[in-house]
């Protein structure tokens, strides 16, 4: 009787230790997963940032090329330079995304206007810039997609059980807004050469 009680206690202690170890293991796994997924979001933001910066750097070249041909389109050119300045001043993600969207639409206007200037359209420099900007625009779209995918995985992780218990009160991250038309109807995307 006594021995069976002793062995029972031993069993309980043993099981408790195993249980605690398993719990600690699970906690470490989820903690690390959450940190890794969070880091992935910041990394995917830097992917967007790189492309935004490359585009911002190309804008002065574009203005320089376009200026000579589009003498009467001062407004459109001004819009581009202004949104570029805002882009460069923007500090946080929200402001950068907003300025980035503005620059996108300002550039779209420029390329739409350029359709009326055959000499400009034939300019090799302009063609190369247009191609490059279209390629960057495409990469920005994909970088945003990956950013949002990363946010989705992170948010799923910290809002579903059991990840929720290990999130330590972390808040869900916000998605980047993509203009609905941009991805849904690819045929009207950024103009191509």
């Amino acid at each position: 009787m006594l021995t069976s009680l002793e062995s029972m206690i031993e069993w309980i202690i043993g099981l408790t230790i195993v249980g605690v170890l398993v719990l600690v293991g699970i906690a470490i796994y989820y903690w690390n997963s959450i940190v890794i997924l969070g880091n992935r979001i910041s990394n995917s933001w830097s992917q967007i940032d790189v492309q935004l910066k490359r585009r911002t750097d190309l804008v002065p070249n574009l203005i320089e090329t376009v200026k000579g041909y589009m003498k009467h389109e001062k407004n459109a050119i001004k819009m581009v330079t202004q949104s570029r300045e805002r882009m460069m001043k923007a500090g946080n993600i929200g402001a950068k995304v907003k300025a980035g969207n503005e620059l996108t639409s300002a550039l779209k206007t420029i390329f739409a206007i350029a359709e009326n200037y055959p000499n400009l359209k034939a300019n090799e420099n302009f063609k190369a810039l247009q191609d490059e900007l279209a390629a960057i625009e495409n990469k920005i779209a994909y970088a945003r997609q990956f950013y949002n995918d990363s946010v989705l995985r992170y948010n799923n992780m910290i809002t579903t059980i059991p990840g929720k218990f290990f999130a330590g009160g972390r808040k869900t991250k916000i998605y980047l807004e993509i203009e609905a038309a941009e991805r849904a109807v690819p045929k009207v995307r950024f103009p191509e050469a």
Binding site: Q47, Y142, A143
Partner: protein, 301 residues
């Protein structure tokens, strides 16, 4: 929109399960063959030959595994993509890699007017995507993105590694059954001195197994290969979020390609569409699923 996404994820999970099941079937087949082999052969010598066969199969596949990218690039005569001449394709590939969150593989170009593409390399670091000149010239941006995303998916899903493993297993099975058949032949001549009424049945069962198993395994390997194509199509749609791009590209391949690429037959399973055959005649022995079925699946995503 939400419904579509769930479908794609579901298809990926489904394909993964099926591939796993098929791989287990192959392993079980090898086990059965090995058992029969050990039973019919002289026990002492049998084991040694058995081990040698397996080591041989492993060694050849390990070499294939580590040099797969170089061997394939030589076999299809592909050249590294030019940073200026092939800028469009390189830019699209870079964008897709950003979207999929993976390292950009090297891009190679094959001199051929046919529309085709392949992926190879054992892991992300050694991954290579090959495109024909025909694909670069004839496909528009969205179609080319679809094709590149399909190849990128093969890399992302570790298909090349998986298929190498499967071909090792199949290769081993073929070698074992070959030995088994030789053994029967040899024994049949010298067994007159032995009373072999009970052994006769086992010999017949073994003979049937030895003949059928390699064929069966080859069929399983091809079935896995076709499953992997569907999986890569689904993953590609997930990366581009535009399944019609790849569907349009397959449509182009169907009408434009004549199946006359000058490449080694051993590499044909790597391509997005069979490079050596005019499409249409699809059977159990195809490395690729019927193109019309692939297009239908993509259109319904």
């Amino acid at each position: 929109m939400k419904h579509e996404k769930v479908d794609v994820y579901g298809q990926i999970a489904n394909n993964k399960r099926l591939s796993f099941l098929l791989a287990i079937l192959i392993v079980l087949g090898i086990g059965a063959l090995g058992y029969v082999f050990g039973y019919t052969y002289h026990p002492d010598l049998a084991f040694t030959i058995f081990i040698i066969a397996i080591i041989f199969a492993m060694l050849s596949s390990i070499i294939g595994y580590y040099y797969s990218d170089k061997i394939v690039l030589k076999a299809v005569n592909a050249k590294k993509a030019h940073p200026v001449n092939h800028k469009k394709a390189l830019d699209l590939l870079e964008g897709l890699c950003i979207g999929a969150g993976m390292k950009m593989p090297r891009l190679y170009i094959i001199k051929s007017p046919e529309i085709n593409a392949f992926a190879t390399g054992r892991d992300y670091e050694h991954a290579v995507i090959g495109l024909t000149e025909g694909a670069v010239e004839k496909l528009d941006k969205l179609e080319l993105e679809g094709v590149l995303a399909h190849e990128l998916s093969h890399i992302k899903n570790y298909d090349i590694r998986f298929m190498t493993l499967v071909s090792v297993l199949v290769g081993t099975a073929v070698i074992i059954s070959e030995l088994l058949l030789r053994n029967f032949f040899w024994r049949g001549r010298s067994s007159s001195d032995r009373d072999s009424k009970g052994a006769g049945i086992i010999v017949i069962i073994g003979l049937i197994l030895a003949i059928i198993t390699p064929i069966l395994m080859k069929l399983i390997q091809l079935a896995i290969s076709r499953k992997r194509e569907y999986l890569a199509d689904a993953s590609a749609a997930l990366i581009t979020r535009y399944p019609d791009g790849l569907a349009d590209a397959l449509e182009m391949i169907k009408t434009e390609n004549k199946g006359r690429m000058k490449i080694s037959k051993a590499t044909m399973h790597l391509f997005i569409s069979n490079p050596l055959k005019k499409l249409g005649a699809d059977s159990l022995f195809s490395t690729h699923p019927p193109i019309n079925k692939r297009i239908r699946k993509l259109r319904s995503m």
